[in-house]
Structures are given as structure tokens and as C-alpha cells.
Amino acid sequence: MIKTDILIIGAGPTGLFAVFEAGLLKLKCHILDSLPQPGGQLSELYPKKPIYDIPGFPEVLAGDLVNNLMEQIKQFEPGFTLGERAETIEKQEDGTFIVTSDKGKKFHALVVAIAGGLGSFEPRKPIIEDIEFYENKGVKYFIKNPEKFRNKRVVIAGGGDSALDWSVFLSNVASEVTLIHRRNEFRGALDSVEKVQELKNLGKIKMITPGEVVGLNGAEHLESIDVEINGAHRNIPTDYFIPLFGLTPKLGPIANWGLEIEKNAIKVNNALDYQTNIPGIFAIGDVNTYPGKLKLILCGFHEATLMCQAAYQIINPGKKYLMKYTTVSGIDGFDGTRKEAPKAVVKAID
């Protein structure tokens, strides 16, 4: 069991910045996120795109903002559990919480802050009849253990980086790799496209473009797929079909935690402290809603700051605290480091 003061669900910019504000109040944080890397949408969807409305940054790349936030919170040594989704929450008799991930990991927290953005990212599933039946029977949306595909026949569908990169990788593992895309153009990184071209020329990757997988066949396990190519159907025997059409956020299990939901978001008590209808559970950033809500990173930062003040009161009832200015008081990290403004030099003039 991982124990922490605040369990933050969601490693997007709001969740990351909450670690900093909590750290100033001597509160320790652990972050849980379903994606394998921190940054949320910024890392997953648009790391190379510029953002222009972060105060003090006329322009910052989304990926750089995440890197800066990670640097900013390093002193407060947050714990990270990545690649796991928050599944259930149980409120204990003493008012604390136990959150369990989809992999069964348990987190004991005094306060829970949901900074889940638009939800956890889940694969976009193509609309093919019976595809659910074949999930885990040959249809895979994620590749966790590439060895599973050793000496197997694999069909990958998609036109982005993950489809290209996994085609390249699996060409050295699988007995046969076929890449299917609805058109000839791929929007992946140029070197990935070139690598696939090279492997296609060497006969190590088969390409079907334009083509679309329209049917799946097999009694107990996937045995073949039907592909539509220029209006004609072709049957291709395969052991695995891996559709890689990107990820889409879904509110997921959090929607069943007894929280008030409105407009696909968690209702909070307006601008007081962003607490939900369950005391001790807060919702900050894009995941919450209240009158006047704006889904902006800068608003998420503000919400994280106010949330931490309220969390402090819950965790330390009756204990006095006055907000400090970091310029005045400096920052004491949990790692023993200290940042502070240089002291003024007092020197007499003769």
C-alpha cells in the first residue's frame, strides 16, 4: 500500500502543479495516471505544439511546459504510478481514502485530488462487427509485451506514429507484419515513414494502402481478417490484429464514484476550494465544472493552489498557517534542498 497525504489522479499540468503547492504546505503527493508518461494531453496529444496563454511565457511548447513543471516539483519528491488507472475509491471510517488501480495497487490518502482532465485515455476502437469478442483473443489495442508476437503473424492498422513505429519494431519479432491504412500518406515522423518504406522494400513489412479492415474471423481465436481494398474484399490469415487509431479520453470508473457529474465533468463547490460533493475529494482542472468554468491550464493552476489550502485544513485541523510568498520564505524541498532569494549585501560607503 502506497501512503501519501494527497493522492493526485492525473499527471497533467494541473496535477503536477498541485504537487508544488502542496509541497509548500509540507504535504506529500503521489500521482496516479493511466498514461505511461507524465503531462496528460500535453505529452500525449500535442507535445510539439506551442501554448501562448501561460502567464509569463509568451510561447512555450507543451512538452517543455511539462518538463518545466517536472523540474519545479522535483524538490517535493512526488511518487508516480504511471500506466495504471484509478478504478475504485473507498472512504474509511476515519475520513481517509483507499484508491485501488486497475492493476490492484492500493493507495492510502488523507485527501484525493482528481485532476483527470477529460478522463483517462483509452484506445479508439474501430467499428468492426464482433471486435469485442476478439479482444484478448487476437485483437490488441496496446502492445505491452512484444515477445507475445514472436513468430506470429500480425496485422497493424493506422496511419500515425504508433502504427509505423510498432510495424518497424515487430518486423524483427513477428513472422509477418502487415500494415493497413486507408490511404497512402502517413502522418508519422519522417524517419518512421522512411524506415517503414525501407522495410517494405526489403519485404519485411507488407503494406496494404488504401485498405480498411472490415471483418474478423475465427472460432475461438482470431484466424483471419477481411480487408476492403478499392471496393473488393480480401481475406488475410493472421494471428493478431492491432488497431492503432490513437487514444480518446473517457471519464471512466471515476463516473461511478458517487460524485455529482454534470456536462461530463465533476461538479465542485464553485470557486471556494474545488471540493466535490464528497468531503475530502477535490476535482481540479479540466475535469471539474462550476458556473463560469474555463478549461484553461492557467485556471487549473489556480484551482490546484486553492485546493491545497483546503487540503491542509483537512489534514491539519485547527493548525494555523499563513500563505507565504516563495520570494520571501524560499522553498524547502523534501529532498533536503533549499531554494532562496540571495540575501541583500549590506555594505557601508566610505
Binding site: L45, K49, L118, R124, G159, R187, L251, N264, A265
Partner: protein, 110 residues
């Protein structure tokens, strides 16, 4: 003052709404649908308008001069579901005077 244009939007329930769209606010069709709340929040404009999610896919129902699909839109539509020949991403269609009388239907949520 610039003129608004009238656009007809059929939502995912099949109900058609005639809305006034400002031409001077640099708005696109996805934002118009969101502003009039014609699709539940969280089901449209998920990527914020970067042509990266296709949650704003719509079908163009009449002949109105529209900007050509750009590379990003083509790429996204080539990976989206329920795509038809008249599919467009609402976030890539900016509202100008040329859009007067445009009729669209929102594609199903996928």
C-alpha cells in the same frame, strides 16, 4: 458591424437547429456547435481544435463553398470512423460570410 451567417446544424439526435454564427470572432464550426451546446460537453472538440481527435466530424449536406481539407484534416479523417465522402472536421472550417446557408449534420460519437 460584421454580419452573422445562418448555419443549420443537425445534432446527433437528428434535431435540426438554425443558428446565427458570428464571422468576426475567428470561430470555427466545432466551436459554434459547442457554444450553442448542440453536443454534450466532452463529446466534441476534445483535442481543442487541432484536428487530432475527429470528435467534431460532421457531414456537409449542401453545396456551399468551403475551404479545402488541409493535410491535418485529411490525415485525421483517414483514421476516423463513420467517415463519408462529405465528412469534414468542424474545427477546420472557420466561419466566414461564404458559409451563409451551410447545412451540416454531426457524425455519431465514436
Amino acid at each position: 458591424m460584421t454580419q452573422d451567417v445562418t448555419i443549420k446544424i443537425t445534432d446527433r439526435e437528428g434535431i435540426t437547429h438554425e443558428v446565427q454564427a458570428p464571422t468576426d470572432m475567428n470561430m470555427n464550426v466545432m466551436e459554434l456547435v459547442s457554444a450553442y451546446e448542440l453536443a454534450p460537453e466532452g463529446t466534441i472538440g476534445i483535442c481543442g481544435g487541432m484536428a487530432m481527435c475527429a470528435s467534431c466530424q460532421c457531414y456537409v449536406l449542401n453545396q456551399v463553398p468551403l475551404p479545402e481539407r488541409n493535410d491535418d484534416e485529411e490525415a485525421m479523417l483517414s483514421e476516423a470512423f463513420n467517415v463519408k465522402v462529405n465528412s469534414r472536421l468542424g474545427c477546420q472550417i472557420y466561419i466566414t460570410n461564404a458559409l451563409e446557408g451551410l447545412e451540416i449534420a454531426l457524425a455519431p460519437e465514436s
